[in-house]
């Protein structure tokens, strides 16, 4: 069933992601499949962006592997609620491992936006913030307004983690961006930018 009723949320996903990434510094970003790729690419096609346009449910653990390998750098996950739900066990693994430099940001439109806005579990009572907190994330936040986003930005980028936030956004798909799609290209560009080595 597609989402028909309007949610009470007003934040626009693309503006939210652009605002978060304005303050990224030298952080590396791993996206989940779907609209998150386009949200991140529309902000800036930074070489330190790894666009995962497949492997649904894998974004948090790819970022976790990068976080262990790059302990001095902040690693941000920008993903959707559907993608995160597909790898929900990752929150338990990351909660146990406590990577200080990892922040997971879920852009939650309560729908599978890339496939026709069918409901996800987050619009039907599943509380991702609660799951992350119960899994041992050091700091969690539910963001529903611009003021809350502004207040949370320093923690997103600097709070010793693992950090987890859900940003509730309107369920409206933004235009697609011509982000690089080829995995060998994007992955080697990312690795070279993050490690300073060529593959």
């Amino acid at each position: 069933m597609a989402v028909k009723s309007k949610t009470p949320y007003t934040l626009q996903r693309r503006k939210v992601v652009q605002r978060i990434l304005e303050d990224r510094g030298d952080a590396a970003v791993v996206t989940g499949i779907g609209n998150a790729v386009h949200d991140v690419a529309s902000a800036n096609d930074d070489p330190k962006n790894m666009y995962l346009a497949g492997i649904m449910g894998g974004a948090a653990m790819v970022a976790f592997g990068v976080a262990l390998a790059q302990p001095k750098r902040r690693i941000l996950v920008i993903t959707g609620d559907g993608e995160l739900l597909a790898g929900i066990g990752s929150l338990a693994t990351i909660g146990v491992e406590q990577p200080k430099n990892l922040s997971i940001i879920v852009i939650d439109n309560q729908a599978y936006g890339a496939t026709g806005n069918q409901h996800t579990h987050t619009g039907r009572g599943v509380d991702l913030v609660g799951i992350a907190a119960a899994s041992g994330f050091k700091k969690t936040a539910l963001i529903t307004t611009e003021a809350e986003l502004e207040a949370e930005l320093p923690r997103i980028h600097n709070q010793p983690g693992p950090y987890f936030a859900v940003v509730k956004v309107v369920s409206k798909t933004s235009p697609r961006i011509n982000a690089p799609k080829d995995g060998t290209y994007v992955s080697r560009r990312f690795r070279a930018a993050v490690t300073g080595e060529s593959a």
Partner: protein, 176 residues
């Protein structure tokens, strides 16, 4: 190091030393009886980070991230977990990212538990369908050299490689 001719020799000690030599920094696993002695060794080694997973595909994603961040890792899994990994392995294929994996078999040599047989018999075809290169080994003495060859193929030639350890080496692997 204990000689291979000694009764106390176990393949896991040579494989652990190999991991150190080639600079493995991340080990991700879901426990299995056939890999238990290797897991004990790597867990005790502070030069590498051991991560317990809730399900094996998390480890495939973590290994991709390790490489993206400039480190080498190894995924340890029982054959039953291979089926969980298939979609995630598309990252190795699409991005041509190295994967070194050790897979301990159930459902083949001398298996007594019928529920282990379906996935055990599907393990190698499933890996090959996901374009993972398989090195099957059924003698303990050959495990270290096989892992060394697989590591070169993985990290020097940027390929996904699984060393599949026969149940003949690992034993029954536990109950059920």
């Amino acid at each position: 190091m204990v000689s291979k001719k000694s009764k106390s020799w176990h393949w896991s000690q040579d494989v652990h030393q190999l991991f150190k030599k080639i600079g493995i920094k991340q080990i991700a696993y879901v426990p299995d009886g056939g890999l238990a002695r290797l897991i004990e060794r790597v867990q005790a080694d502070k030069s590498m980070r051991s991560v317990v997973l809730t399900t094996e595909e998390e480890g495939v994603a973590q290994m991709a991230g390790a490489w993206l961040g400039g480190q080498r890792g190894v995924l340890l899994t029982q054959s039953g977990g291979v089926g969980n990994c298939i979609n995630m392995l598309s990252m190795m294929q699409e991005c041509r990212i190295p994967l070194l994996s050790l897979v301990s078999m159930r459902g083949e040599w001398g298996e007594q538990y019928p529920w282990q047989v379906p996935m055990g018999q599907s393990t190698i075809p499933a890996l090959e369908a996901a374009k993972v290169i398989v090195h099957h080994v059924d003698q303990a003495e050959k495990v270290p050299e096989t892992v060394e060859a697989a590591a070169k193929l993985a990290f020097d030639a940027n390929r996904a490689v699984a060393v599949v350890l026969s149940q003949r080496i690992a034993g029954s692997g536990g109950q059920g």
